[in-house]
Amino acid sequence: MSISQFNYSTIPSEAEALRADVRAFIEQTLQDYPAVKRAYSWMGFDAEFSRLLGQKGWLGMALPKRYGGAEASPFARYVIIEELLAAGAPVSAHWIADRQSAPLILRFGTEAQKEKYLPPICRGESYFCIGMSEPNSGSDLASIKSNAQRVDNGWLVNGQKVWTTNAQHSHYMIALLRTGNKEESGRHGGMSQFIIDLSLPGVTIRPIADLAGGEHFNEVFLDNVRLDADALVGEEGNGWGQVTAELAFERSGPERFLSSIALLHTAIKAIGPEPDALQAREIGRITARLLTLRNMSLAVTRQLSDGENPAWAASCVKDLGNVFEQDLPEIVQVLVEEQPQVGGGSDHAQVLAYLTQMAPSFSLRGGTREILRGIIARGLGLR
């Protein structure tokens, strides 16, 4: 693990060529989409919009054509998602499926699983959530207790997941469950991943309101849920390794530093074309940080594209990116004399109110700041 993983990489021209199309599509489709909804970023849910993207061929792009994909490079997907995120398009419905679940199923799934799950993901019709955290297992993920026991022709699942983003809108959950004894299989052994159909009997989903009143995450109760044998993804007992591999896809993308970009747009508008010295300096610093983060993120994409495992570098991008997107509301609130406002107020006031309140979550989801820095330190050989 070293700094040499960060090599400047440009987007190949065939991927770059997609940008004009997606920009034009967004401009047309989201013409009247309000600023405060753009601030939802990848928490904005709109199934119709996801289906439109599916029709355009912009979902599951890296997947083989026989499953509905385009066999495009990770850079093609990068161009599409960074344009969608920069515009604040409502991408939450398909987000996890496109980013994480589809690559996971492609890599570890059986042929039957690929044929069943991947085409509807590419069409923007099938939504996934991730069942990892539990009430007593947050950062210490290996301590999960929810379990799957072998029964005739399948599995019996019991337990509880929590902080499950979008579970209430999703068709499936990819859950990490205990299938073996921790004492026998070691700290990171005895866990497996399952695709749980959330319409099955025994699944109860209860939204948890966040501090601003929104409902994005959920508690998911799994009470004697009966799964078919083919619900297991990958190898029994290999869940930890699969989850770790999955995280490289999850941690380096533009969604790890663009969550507050709607605020940057309203702030530049509010400041106007003639900033004072302080405003110019802060907007300039923000611009530089964003450019550098994007270059880091593209360097990780290059590694993904080359088939390498950039898990360490991805952790660097996520941590630095989360600090950036959390800094934005803090910087902007002292840069423009306009109070955050939830009801009424200007676009800027509403976006500032929303993102000020959402910012704490940016460094929680996908691994906390301290956990990420621990991973980085391990990569440096310090642990």
Partner: protein, 357 residues
């Protein structure tokens, strides 16, 4: 070629630019043997055309030379020479050998023949045989090649790291060569190029700082175990690694995106990112090292004092941030994201540091 340049210069600097050698340079000695070695190995003229004895290396290749210069704290005007010769070539004057430096901060009067006024903050001005500067504004501006030996007076100064930053004062002195500033280049071209080069040097120094600091944390024992075993230290070193990575890629982007015309927008971003990484990184390096890092004997300060000097040279983070921010605000919110995805094509206007005499 990049790999070859990198391995050559790292070997050279590793052999010659030892801590003792750097300390001697900081005390005022001219690093003649290092300079000769760089010359003999084709580093000094790497960017010059083959006819002039060079290899026509692009900025993207020269990046690794500038970064290595920072990583090993090379006590010579190596990067200044690369930039000065690049401009001399562009202007048709042609690259020169010898010890060549640049001046970005000047107050000069030139009547087309004799030069009067002063060049300030000239790196290794007292040791240089040639200095490149830009005089005048707009269509009148010209590239000048001057001889420090022709200066009436040299006021010696040094930056925090003991690197010479001299003021050269001229009165009706001869100009070695002059040419109109080539079309498409700004009067501030040396300032912009200097910022790019300092970014690479800071990236190199941060890389060395990170290696030194994590090595120290793994060796140093307290409470019965290496201090690297403590989460408080690990978390700091993780931030240092992130900042070092950010500095490296920000500097590299500035070089790769620069070709005929320096990519000022990306260079501004590179200088801001590396300057801020320098401040944070130097702080963490000292924090992890404790008292030993504060001594003259230990080598940490050879890196941190340079980071503290270089972050401000050729425009501080504030200088470049204000330019970048004013540009972004003037372009409006709707043009912000396109500027991020097409930074290379942005036209950032950079003012000069100098003042008319």
């Amino acid at each position: 070629m990049r790999e070859l340049y990198e391995s050559t210069i790292e070997r050279l600097l590793g052999d010659i630019a030892t801590p003792e050698y750097i300390r001697a340079a900081e005390s005022g000695a001219w690093s003649a043997d290092l300079w000769s070695a760089l010359e003999d190995n084709g580093i000094l003229l790497a960017g010059a055309p083959e006819a002039a004895g060079g290899a026509e290396a692009s900025w993207s290749e020269l990046f690794v030379i500038a970064r290595a210069a920072g990583r090993f704290a090379a006590p010579v005007p190596l990067v200044e020479m690369l930039l000065g010769n690049w401009l001399l070539e562009k202007a048709g004057i042609g690259a020169r050998s010898g010890v060549l430096t640049i001046a970005t901060d000047s107050a000069l009067q030139w009547n087309g023949d004799r030069i009067s006024g002063e060049l300030r903050q000239v790196p290794w001005g007292r040791h240089a045989e040639l200095v490149v500067a830009v005089v005048g504004a707009g269509a009148e501006s010209a590239v000048l090649l001057l001889e420090p030996a022709a200066a009436e007076n040299i006021v010696q100064g040094t930056n925090i790291a003991g690197e010479p930053r001299d003021t050269l004062q001229f009165t009706a002195a001869n100009v070695m060569a002059s040419a109109p500033l080539p079309a498409g280049l700004s009067e501030s071209v040396l300032l912009t190029g200097g910022a790019m080069l300092r970014s690479a040097q800071m990236a190199g120094a941060l890389t060395a700082l990170m290696e030194l600091t994590s090595g120290y944390a793994a060796d140093r024992k307290q409470f019965g175990r290496p201090i690297a075993a403590f989460q408080a230290i690990q978390q700091q070193l993780a931030v240092l690694a992130e900042q070092t990575a950010a500095a490296n890629i920000a500097a590299e982007a500035a070089f790769v995106e620069s070709n005929d015309h320096l990519a000022a927008f990306s260079i501004a971003a590179g200088k801001i990112s590396t300057a801020e990484a320098a401040s944070l990184g130097a702080g963490i390096g000292h924090s992890v090292h404790g008292a030993i890092g504060f001594t003259q004997e230990y080598t940490l300060h050879l890196l941190t004092r340079r980071l503290w000097a270089w972050r401000g040279e050729y425009g501080s983070s504030t200088f470049w941030s204000k330019l970048l921010g004013a540009h972004v605000c003037a372009a409006g919110a709707q043009n912000f994201w396109p500027a991020i995805t097409h930074a290379q094509q942005q036209q950032l206007i950079v003012p000069t540091q100098g003042s008319p005499l």
